[in-house]
């Protein structure tokens, strides 16, 4: 039991950190430009595939740097030549644009790398156990992933709070026009933030690819969950996105790990549900993919502005 709790917590935190790496970029882009980037998870997928292809030539570590840079550059190009053009037609048009982009990226990935999963693995020496607890190994790679994520967030925090660019970004979040009037190039700032957010998503892909399997469906699996994170955390709130990421990561991991059915849970609370009935028979593990959406609906009913959001969406 203790074993399950410890490992689920570790895996849940790892998953939550990956989610936050995606949702932090998405939240930054959203609060700055008012557009929810539907293709965000597609950039995450591109990160994994780029790292796979680059890694075959350069090895894992250079790919860890190069792939996110490449994804970020691609994101900046998308903003400069696509999104900026569509911006004049309003937010719905922007959302439609990113939706179409996700569609096209998914197809291109299938075209370039095939419809089945590619063999993107971490280097062999990182598959060794970092520590062994109750006879279960925890690989070095997972430890490295957690380390990279935490380093990333410290860097993000430093960038936003302690640097001049961060000051401009924070100012542009609330008073975009004023920042423009003061002579800063706000469109270029937008491009930078969009590219940076995409690079973060790419980084999540590079380190998440070996853990979650690199296949063309990976964007469609994770994309909706990242949106749920952003809404549950409160639209535009980085802190909220952080808590929501960890919350959803932990909930989903625990649902997978716990070996119980709906009937077990309900009956433990005193109800009397047929354990072999249609509803009672469902195991919590099969419910796991649904938990983010159940959480979303609950949040919407009881706290529409999200965990930390200041405004109702």
């Amino acid at each position: 039991m203790l074993e399950i709790v410890i490992f689920s917590t570790l895996n849940g935190i790892l998953y939550g950190l990956l989610l936050f790496m995606l949702s932090s970029g998405l939240t930054l882009i959203f609060s700055m430009m008012g557009v929810l980037n539907f293709a965000h998870a597609s950039f995450y997928m591109l990160g994994a595939y780029f790292a796979y292809t680059l890694g075959m030539h350069t090895g894992f570590w250079p790919a860890l740097i190069l792939a996110p840079l490449l994804v970020g550059a691609l994101g900046a190009l998308v903003e400069r030549f696509g999104l900026r053009r569509v911006h004049a037609n309003g937010h719905v048009a922007e959302l439609l644009f990113t939706f179409g982009l996700a569609y096209v990226i998914d197809e291109l990935v299938q075209m370039m790398w095939g419809t089945v999963a590619v063999a993107y693995r971490e280097p062999a020496y990182m598959r060794e156990p970092l520590f062994t607890l109750f006879g279960t190994d925890y690989s070095i790679f997972r430890g490295v992933v957690i380390l990279i994520s935490i380093l990333m967030f410290v860097a993000l925090w430093y960038l936003l709070k302690k640097t001049r660019v961060g000051l401009m970004i924070r100012a542009a979040l609330t008073h975009g026009e004023m920042v423009g009037h003061l002579g800063h190039n706000v469109p270029r700032l937008f491009m930078g933030v969009f590219g940076f957010g995409c690079a973060l998503a790419g980084l999540a892909g590079v380190i998440g690819g070996p853990i979650m399997s690199t296949e063309p469906g990976m964007a469609a699996t994770l994309g909706p969950i990242v949106f749920v994170v952003v809404v549950v955390g409160g639209m535009g709130s980085l802190q909220g996105a952080f808590y929501a990421s960890l919350l959803i990561g932990l909930i989903q991991t625990f649902f997978v790990a716990v070996n119980a059915s709906v009937a077990d849970v309900v009956n433990a609370m005193g109800a009397n549900l047929d354990p072999y009935g249609e509803l009672g028979r469902i195991s919590l593990a099969t419910l796991a993919p649904m938990t983010p959406f159940i959480l979303l609906v609950l949040i919407l009913i009881f706290r529409p502005r999200g965990l930390m959001g200041e405004l109702e969406p």
Binding site: A93, V231, M235, T286
Partner: protein, 424 residues
């Protein structure tokens, strides 16, 4: 001011006399004539039936997005659940007609879209209220979550949704109406034509009701609407229900057509299809989604005969329409129609034609690029074939030719835009 309004009302009242009927007569005539054009061609009828379903689906979606300003990523929930309800009804008819008694023994399969419509409307009624608080991005995300949740639930309750394999029924059961046996796709066509016409007319009539007008108001300026004393949320909720009903109606049509339904029909892919069709056809014009449904359905089914990258092309078409022609194909048709009506066509046509030429060149260039990329990464045949010509991805000239085509198109487009600006 009030005189202006009453004068405008007078005009709009006097207009739908005879000229307003023309499009409907043409529509009905086309529906009646199509079977004689395609007589004996069962593939064509199969395609026509799918187009009919998609027209209703896309139009019902546009009630939300185009007319109500609510971007939804979960419209397939209503389509799928409507379809499931109709399928269960068909199974009940099948069972009852063996016994020869009971309520279901007297229900014709022809009426299944009504069942779908009721189911779709009920689902929207039950689910809609918490979602209609806000439009815009929040609504989009919530409907996305709703769609994912219902699709996941579809896998979880096999007795209702049939699990991965779905459930299937038989449309040739129960009482026959109008002598329709519904055996072959040519037979089903009449069923489709009837319901498509009826649904299109009903949805057009909806735009004419006060609620239909209010839905435009809630799209354009919800704050002002609130000042006047309406509840935007109530109006959104009512549009949501109406749109869900018609989505369910399309689902009922689909149940009769395919005789099988799987939980995949509830998911993001069919929801995205509705969005794709509506946006390609144009959100601002009533008939836009009809055009979009026809074009996208034809592209989906016919392109796959010629290329392995057909879905990519649909995506690229969607992307270019969002970027370069936000009013969609329907908006383009409307522009030509207005110019024709104002006698302006002669002056504007040359610019449009060169613009079309430019776009055509860019498209051909892009197609060559995509096909060569596909061939280079897959290498199943030696050459990529476009318009009967063979392009070798290993040789440089193919890539050059594609680049030249695209560049030429861009240059002509630039020149046309310049010319138009000078004229204006």
């Amino acid at each position: 001011m009030s005189q202006d309004i009453s004068a405008a009302m007078q005009r709009s009242k006097s207009r739908p006399s005879l000229r307003g009927l023309v499009p409907w007569v043409v529509f009905a005539a086309v529906l009646l004539l199509l079977p004689f054009v395609f007589q004996g061609n069962s593939t064509a009828f199969t395609l026509l039936n799918v187009i009919g379903i998609n027209i209703v689906f896309a139009l019902s979606y546009n009630m939300l997005l185009g007319q109500g300003g609510m971007l939804s990523f979960g419209h397939a929930v209503f389509f799928g659940l409507g379809s499931y309800a109709a399928m269960h009804a068909m199974i009940a008819i099948d069972d009852a007609s063996y016994a020869g008694e009971g309520f279901w023994a007297h229900v014709p399969v022809v009426g299944m879209p009504v069942i779908g419509m009721i189911a779709g409307g009920l689902v929207a009624l039950v689910l809609g209220w918490p979602f209609c608080r806000r439009a815009g991005t929040a609504f989009a995300m919530i409907t996305l979550g709703l769609g994912e949740m219902v699709a996941a639930a579809g896998q979880m309750f096999p007795s209702l949704f049939g699990g991965e394999a779905g459930i299937y029924g038989n449309r040739m059961v129960g009482p026959q109406w109008f002598g329709l046996e519904l055996a072959q796709s040519a037979d089903v066509y009449w069923f489709m034509a009837f319901w498509t016409f009826l649904a299109v007319f009903a949805m057009w009539a909806f735009t004419r009701t006060p609620l239909g007008r209010m839905s435009n108001a809630v799209r354009d300026n919800p704050d002002r609407l609130q000042f006047i004393g309406y509840q935007p949320r109530n109006i959104r909720f009512m549009i949501f229900i109406a749109s869900g009903s018609f989505g369910g109606l399309a689902g009922g049509m689909a149940a009769v057509n395919y005789e099988i339904i799987t939980p995949e029909a509830l998911g993001l892919i069919p929801s995205g299809l509705a969005l794709l069709m509506a946006a390609v056809g144009g959100l601002g014009v009533f008939y836009g989604p009809i055009v979009g449904a026809i074009v996208v359905t034809l592209m989906n089914s016919m392109l796959s005969d010629y290329t392995d990258a057909s879905i990519l092309y649909v995506g690229l078409v969607f992307l270019s329409i969002v970027m370069f022609a936000p009013r969609g194909l329907g908006g383009g048709i409307e522009q030509v129609r207005v110019a024709w009506r104002d006698g302006d066509l002669g002056r504007r046509l040359p610019g449009w034609l060169t613009g079309t030429l430019a776009v055509g060149l860019i498209i051909v260039g892009m197609v060559v690029l995509v096909e060569m990329m596909f061939q280079a990464t897959h290498g199943d045949d030696e050459f990529a074939q476009v318009l009967g010509m063979e392009f070798d991805a290993a040789a440089l000239w193919g890539w050059l030719a594609a680049a030249v085509l695209v560049a030429l198109g861009v240059v002509i487009k630039r020149a046309t835009n310049k010319l138009r600006e000078d004229q204006a």
